[in-house]
């Protein structure tokens, strides 16, 4: 049995006990990368040398007792939109094809302090804009369960790498479902924390009011442990929240007795594949048998979340991505006449189609004459959505639903119809608008053998409730690995 089949916490224990060296763990990860990466393309950059060097340093700190945490020496993959000092950070875009940050994102700094060894940077949709990892400028990532299917997105590289055991765990980011949806498609677990819980410092911004970094791993215990490490108040992020609790592992308890679970009727309507629906409703029954109180309720604004999201996310993206101008870093066009022509040509050549589409939409909805009708209207809708969730959480501890209406689509089938692709975000997107925490856990497979994830949504700062619910549900199942690892 490979070291890579262990969870991050299990591997950390073995390293701590001296049964496994950090070098052995990193070598096992690299061996798995060399075995499956040419078929999957989970990484944009693999830093083999850096990881082996870091392994030695971390080993010394473990041996002399300076590093005692659960993740010390465990190899991790980081989504390529988080800055890593001296390590290429592309955001899967041509425009950042040669960008080497001079500093490291705070969440990654927190991991490094805990003794994590970074294996490399994972592939994603360009600037996190997409749901399939097909908009990457560095080729699509493939789903380890079936390489003819997408891994989901935008954190598709991170989730596929965890499923394929090309790392012990990974960091992703979630703006509209980008951790939860690929976790569902790849059969792994991922958490999008409450907005403000993990610092966004060093995360290349897409929609700043929606972006959150979170963990992707094999199980709920790993995710809670990782979240405990990466979450922190950071004065470098003006929206960072000083939380009262960071002890997310304290709620890894198999007990849902009396837990009030709400199921939004709107999440089970048109568009939801029957196989997905069955798996989610079966899971609800399992929780009910374990003592939870499960009830249906109305979440009438669900359909308005997607249009509101695309206005807000595109508006913020158009502003955030104005920094890519061919002056300070990244790509610059070869031939140009004057400053403005240089900006325009650089950006037109450097950005892919989906990024341009969203920048243009964002520029439009923010432009004078349309600002009130589109941008402010979307912000008012967001207020109503938040209010609706507030009311729901007066009655329920957690909300249960699907992560996505389908399992992973086939490669090449999604990008031609953007609106159809956007509709796939229907169950995840309102969580970002309302700043809530959400977790995706594996719950079953469809008839093609593709994983189906289950989502628990909690009220702001109530990660512990969704972690407890997800952990309890997880105890009723065994973790499944994609067949390709065994070959």
């Amino acid at each position: 049995m490979s070291l890579m089949s262990l969870t991050a916490v299990e591997l950390g224990k073995k390293i701590k006990a001296g049964e496994v060296t950090v070098k052995e763990a990193v070598e096992a990860a690299i061996a798995q990368i060399e075995k499956t990466e040419n078929r999957l393309n989970c990484y944009v950059t693999v830093d083999k040398e850096g990881a082996l060097k870091k392994a030695e340093e971390v080993q010394k700190l473990i041996d002399n007792g300076s590093l005692t945490g659960p993740l010390a020496g465990v190899p991790v993959a980081v989504k390529d939109n988080m800055c890593t000092k001296d390590l290429l950070t592309t955001c899967s875009s041509k425009i950042l094809g040669n960008f080497v940050p001079t500093y490291t994102a705070e969440a990654v700094v927190n991991l490094e302090k805990a003794g994590a060894v970074i294996l490399g940077k994972t592939n994603m949709d360009e600037f996190a804009m997409g749901s399939t990892t097909e908009t990457s400028a560095y080729g699509e990532t493939k789903n380890p369960w079936n390489v003819n299917h997408v891994p989901g997105g935008s954190s598709g590289g991170s989730c596929a790498a965890v499923a394929a055991e090309e790392c012990s765990y990974a960091l992703g980011s979630d703006t509209g479902g980008s951790i939860r949806q690929p976790s569902s498609f790849c059969g792994v677990t991922g958490i999008k924390p409450t907005y403000g819980t993990v610092s966004r410092y060093g995360l290349i911004a897409y929609g700043s009011s929606l972006d959150q970094i979170g963990p992707v791993a094999k199980d709920v215990t790993d995710c809670a442990t990782i979240l405990e490490v990466i979450a922190s108040y950071d004065e470098k992020d003006s929206t960072s929240v000083k939380r009262e609790d960071y002890d997310f592992t304290s709620c890894l308890v198999d007990d849902v007795k009396g837990l009030k679970i709400g199921i939004p009727k709107a999440y089970f309507g048109e568009g939801l594949e029957p196989e997905v629906k069955k798996v989610i409703l079966d899971a609800a029954k399992v929780l009910e048998e374990k003592g939870a109180i499960v009830e249906e309720f109305d979440l009438g604004l669900a359909d308005y979340a997607i249009p509101a999201y695309y206005v807000i996310a595109a508006a913020e993206a158009s502003s955030n991505l104005s920094r890519f101008d061919g002056v300070k870093y990244g790509y610059r066009t070869e031939d140009y006449e004057g400053l403005h022509n240089m900006y325009k040509k650089t950006r037109s050549e450097g950005f892919g189609a989906e990024v341009k589409r969203r920048i243009m939409l964002g520029s439009f909805v923010l432009s004078s004459g349309y600002y009130d009708a589109y941008y402010l209207k979307a912000l008012r809708t967001k207020a109503l959505i938040k209010e609706e969730f507030d009311k729901a959480f007066e009655k329920y501890d957690v909300i249960l639903g699907p992560v996505a209406p389908t399992t992973a689509p086939e490669l090449g089938k999604s990008l031609s119809d953007p609106i159809k692709m956007y509709l796939g975000d229907i169950y995840t997107i309102s969580v970002n608008l309302a700043g809530l925490p959400g977790i995706s856990v594996p719950a079953g497979e469809d008839s093609k053998g593709l994983p189906i994830g289950l989502q628990f949504i909690g009220d702001c700062f109530q990660e512990k409730k969704i972690i407890r619910a997800a952990y309890s549900f997880e105890q009723t199942r065994t973790y499944k690995r994609p067949g390709m690892i065994e070959e």
Binding site: Y310, V311, N341, G435
Partner: protein, 97 residues
Amino acid sequence: MANIISDETIEYVGILAKLELSEEEKEQAKSDMGKMLDYIDKLNELDTTNVEPMSHVFQVNNVFRQDVVANGDDRDNILKNAPGIKEGAFKVPKTVE
């Protein structure tokens, strides 16, 4: 399609977004944006009279701190990422005629 995007609008958006589009891209953008706006118009079904726009979910307050330099001079490293540099500064095309 209810929202017809004119050539003028696409030109204007191109200026705002600082993007130079080929004729083909312009046609595609007109069609894509029209469809997106048709879809976004669904928001008009909602009555949002007297609803305050919510930009942040939590109350965001100004955070004050002492203005003390905490990082070192990293100019040379930062400039390594620049497409053009000259005498320790970013090099750009002439900005004033």
